[in-house]
Structure formats: C-alpha cells, structure tokens
C-alpha cells in the first residue's frame, strides 16, 4: 500500500466537513450526548463476519494485546447500561480483510447512535429527520429526503427476484430457488446466499427512484442483534439504500442477555472454525447486559458513504485529501 495526496478532492472534503458539522448540530439539538471513545481495546465482542486488527502494547516486561475496534458498540452499550441516555459516536472504526474499494476502506468513519424508548420503525423517522437536516447546496443531488420508499424484505424479494414469501423463509425452498437461478449453492449457508441474491438482484434497484429506500423485517437468520418480531420469522432490523448502496441500518436492540450470551458463544466458535484472529473476549460486556440494557434502538451509518451522496461522488477516496491506496 502507499500514501496518495489528492488536493483536487478539496471541494469534496469541504462537503465532508460540512456534513460532519451538521450531524453534530442535529445530535446536539436533539439531545444526544456526543461520546468520544477509545479505538484501542483490550477485548472485543466476537463477530464471525468481521476480521479485526491486532496490535501489542509494550512496556519493559509488560506486553498486552490490544485491538482496533471494528465498531463503537462495545463501549456505547456499556454506557447505555449505566444510564447515559441517548448518545452518539462519530469517529473511526477498523475492519481487517476488507480491501479498499469504492465503498470500503479498512479504516472508516462510523456514525452510531442510540435512542431510548423507540423501536426500529420509529428510528426510521428519526433517521429521515437527520437526512433532511443535512442541507448541502448541490444542484446535481437527485434525491429527496421527504419520505422513505418503504419495502419489507419479503416484498423486495417478490418484486425483484420473483422469490415469494414462502420460498424466502423456508431454507430448503430458498436453496432450490437459488439453484434454479444459477447461483452456486455448494458449501454455502442461507445467510450467504441471501446476501448474494440481495446484492445481485435487489440492491442495485434500491434508492434510485428519487427517494431513499428502507428495507425492513429481515429473516431471523439475518437478525444480528435485533429483536425478533411476533411472526417468529423476521427481525426488527432495517437497512437503507441510496443509489443502490447500503448507507446504514438500525434495529430494535435485543436486550435478552441469555440470547446475547448464546450468540457470543456461537460467534466465537465460528471465529475459531474459520481460523480468524483469536482475540480476547469481552466477558464484562455480557455482565453489563445482564445488569440490563434499556429498551432502545441503535443506528449505524457509514459516514463516508453518506457524504458520497451529498458530494455526488461514487467512491470514498474522492472525499479525502490523503488516501492509503493499494
């Protein structure tokens, strides 16, 4: 990798700063507490789909492994348990094994915020308010944030892939349907196949008709840390898209610590199986959750991706004065 300086991105970078200022302003006006957080942590939450950066603290005989945080969740949820209230983080996050591309960089900026007492659909209104608040003079901007184009995951699959609800929620039927469509179904999981079909056939068509698209109610296999719906097969999780690109997502937070603990164990087993970096597990995180995470919804937004929309550029590197490139 090498260092690249690109002064011709100055105007885009100024838009980046402007969006950043507006987001802080919005959060401040709406009583979210800004929290500055460490990015080096002695332990992490196990996640089987995220590889991490590992480093070491050295002082004489004392040596200790430290990890760059792939998301601020580990700290923000602790704070929520202690009663900090509505809060947000806008800062760096790090993910290893994610090479530079138009939409990815191993070092990126994340906006994560939590609001107490609301569920995922109410959070959709809050995120829309935030998007409306960011007013950047840009005549080329072809998107309006007056409303969401709302679509459940099942509706989107039916509309764009002709996979109906029954086929979507039944793993065996789903695999058959995928095979019929020509996808390679060997050595794969429902989750991976779901993501592949979503990325190939659905995502390019989202957020392209003048409004951002909100996809909601993901199959429970894709629940992540979201609360399940009463139908027993979907989770209270949303993602939103502009110009075919996923910008962010949110979910009603799972506050059942037994479920969380189970997930901790299965995710760390998967990490071992996949020979990922063997990091120290943050056991006190579970303790904190046992104490009690309040009813809340958390949202995560890829900040560079969001700014890309307002700056009207198609890749992250066009927003920066200094890029680390391949």
């Amino acid at each position: 990798m090498k260092i690249q300086t690109t002064i011709k991105n100055l105007n885009n970078y100024k838009i980046y700063l402007q969006v950043e200022r507006t987001v802080h302003e919005f959060m401040n006006k709406n009583n979210y507490l800004k929290v500055d957080l460490p990015v080096l942590s002695p332990a992490l939450i196990p996640e089987s789909y995220l590889e991490i950066f590992e480093t070491k603290f050295n002082y004489l005989d004392k040596k200790e492994k430290l990890y760059l945080t792939p998301s601020p969740e580990i700290f923000l949820k602790r704070l929520l348990v202690t009663g900090v209230g509505n809060c947000y983080y806008l800062g760096r996050a790090y993910r290893n094994s994610e090479p530079n591309s138009d939409w990815h960089s191993p070092e990126f900026t994340m906006l994560e915020f939590y609001k107490l007492g609301i569920d995922y659909l109410e959070m959709a209104d809050e995120v829309l308010k935030l998007l409306q608040y960011i007013k950047i003079e840009n005549k080329k901007l072809k998107i309006s944030f007056k409303k969401w184009e709302k679509m459940s995951v099942a509706q989107a699959f039916l509309k764009f892939t002709k996979i109906n609800e029954e086929e979507l929620f039944d793993e065996k039927l789903f695999f058959n349907k995928a095979k019929e469509k020509g996808y390679n179904i060997e050595k794969t999981t429902y989750e991976d196949l779901f993501s592949q079909i979503l990325a190939t056939e659905i995502e390019p068509k989202l957020g392209i008709s003048g409004y951002p698209t909100l996809l909601y109610n993901y199959p429970k296999q894709m629940a992540s840390l979201a609360k399940l719906n009463e139908d027993g097969r979907t989770a209270q999780r949303c993602e939103f898209y502009i110009n075919g690109l996923e910008i962010g997502g949110f979910c009603t937070e799972l506050n059942d610590y037994n479920e969380q603990e189970k997930r901790f164990i299965s995710e760390s087993e998967k990490r071992k199986k996949n020979k990922m970096i063997d990091h120290t597990i943050d056991k006190s995180f579970i303790k904190a959750l046992k104490y009690g995470l309040p009813f809340c919804t958390g949202a995560g937004i890829g900040f560079e991706r969001l700014v890309m929309i307002f700056a009207n550029v198609t890749s992250i590197d066009k927003l920066k004065l200094i890029n680390i490139i391949d």
Binding site: Y49, R95, N100, E191, S195, L198, A199, T200, S224
Partner: protein, 186 residues
C-alpha cells in the same frame, strides 16, 4: 486458471452463464451480516450488455487464459472495427459496441493489441494513451489562463476533447482514451 472471486480484477475474462465476459469493475463488498462479496460488472462480449453480479468472495471462478496479439487498426464501418495481424494478414472484426466509447480515439493505421481466445478476437487492450492532432478549435480566449479554464476541440478522429484554452489547432495532444481526458501536449 481458477481463482477466488475475491481476487477478480478489472480487465480479466470469465465465463458467466455460458458467455465470455470481461470484468469492467470488481469491488469488494461486505454486507452488515454474512460473508464478503465481490460485486462485479461483467460485459458480455457478444451482446455488449453489462450485467451486475455479486460473487461470494470465496467462490471459485475460472479466469480465461487469453493472449494479446499486436494488430493494426485498419478501418471501421457502422457496426465493426477491423484489425489486421501484420504477420499473417488475417483480419479480425470487433463490434464497436463491444470495444466501447474508447474507439472514437482510434486512428487508422495505429497499432493495437487485440485479446484472443481460442483464435477468436474478444476485444482490444486499451492503449494507455493516444496521440491525436487537433483539427478544429476556437481561438484561445484572452485573459483567463490561470484558473484552468477549458474549451472543447475536435481531434483528427472526429472525437471532441476538453483541453486548456491555450492549446491550438494543428497541435498534437495526448489523451487517456479510457477517460477521454487531455493529458498533455506532445
């Protein structure tokens, strides 16, 4: 050669749903949950249509072993560009739609590399830069020479290029044919 889709690169050739395609774009993409994907834009080299496909990044993909042959661009008609292998005098035709916009910068008689697979031409290997003479341009506007102002000019192949206003008719300029950008005077 079989590779992990995660290593696919722009310019490589693959077979997709039975047709030979060239990778136009390949970008790593990781959804919130689930394994990483490689989002590729593939150009079908028969229909010239692009198709978007997300490979699982650990999925095996067969990359075709193509050769590139030095040829001379001889002429074009409404549909095709014609090339000649100077050693064998064999002619090859490539649809303009397959070669793409870049062909507006091709000058008859220029040498170029053509990708071949099983003795069939697939497409051309884009030259890094082309040199073309300006045949039509407005006179340089006075004054604004410092702010990087540009004007359109016509080059000998008929294509239009934006150049700094001090560049004149009769001068030869170099152009990046893939972006259509002026890169300097020659």
């Amino acid at each position: 050669m079989r590779i992990n889709a995660g290593n696919l690169k722009k310019g490589e050739f693959v077979t997709f749903q039975g047709a030979i395609c060239q990778v136009q774009k390949a970008d790593f993409y990781s959804p919130g949950k689930g394994s990483a994907l490689m989002k590729a834009r593939l150009k079908n080299l028969i229909t010239a249509k692009n198709v978007e496909y997300a490979y699982k990044s650990n999925e095996q993909v067969e990359v075709l072993d193509v050769t590139s042959v030095d040829m001379q661009y001889i002429y074009k008609d409404q549909e095709n560009l014609y090339f000649m292998d100077e050693r064998t005098f064999n002619q090859s035709a490539l649809p303009i739609s397959v070669v793409g916009d870049i062909s507006r910068f091709f000058k008859e008689g220029e040498k170029m590399f053509v990708y071949m697979y099983n003795d069939k031409p697939l497409t051309i290997r884009p030259p890094m830069s082309v040199r073309l003479k300006i045949v039509e341009a407005d006179d340089a506007a006075k004054g604004d020479t410092v702010s990087g102002a540009k004007k359109p000019v016509k080059v000998e192949t008929g294509a239009t290029v934006m150049v700094p206003i001090f560049v004149k008719v009769g001068e030869t300029i170099s152009i990046n044919p893939e972006t259509g950008e002026y890169t300097g005077r020659v």
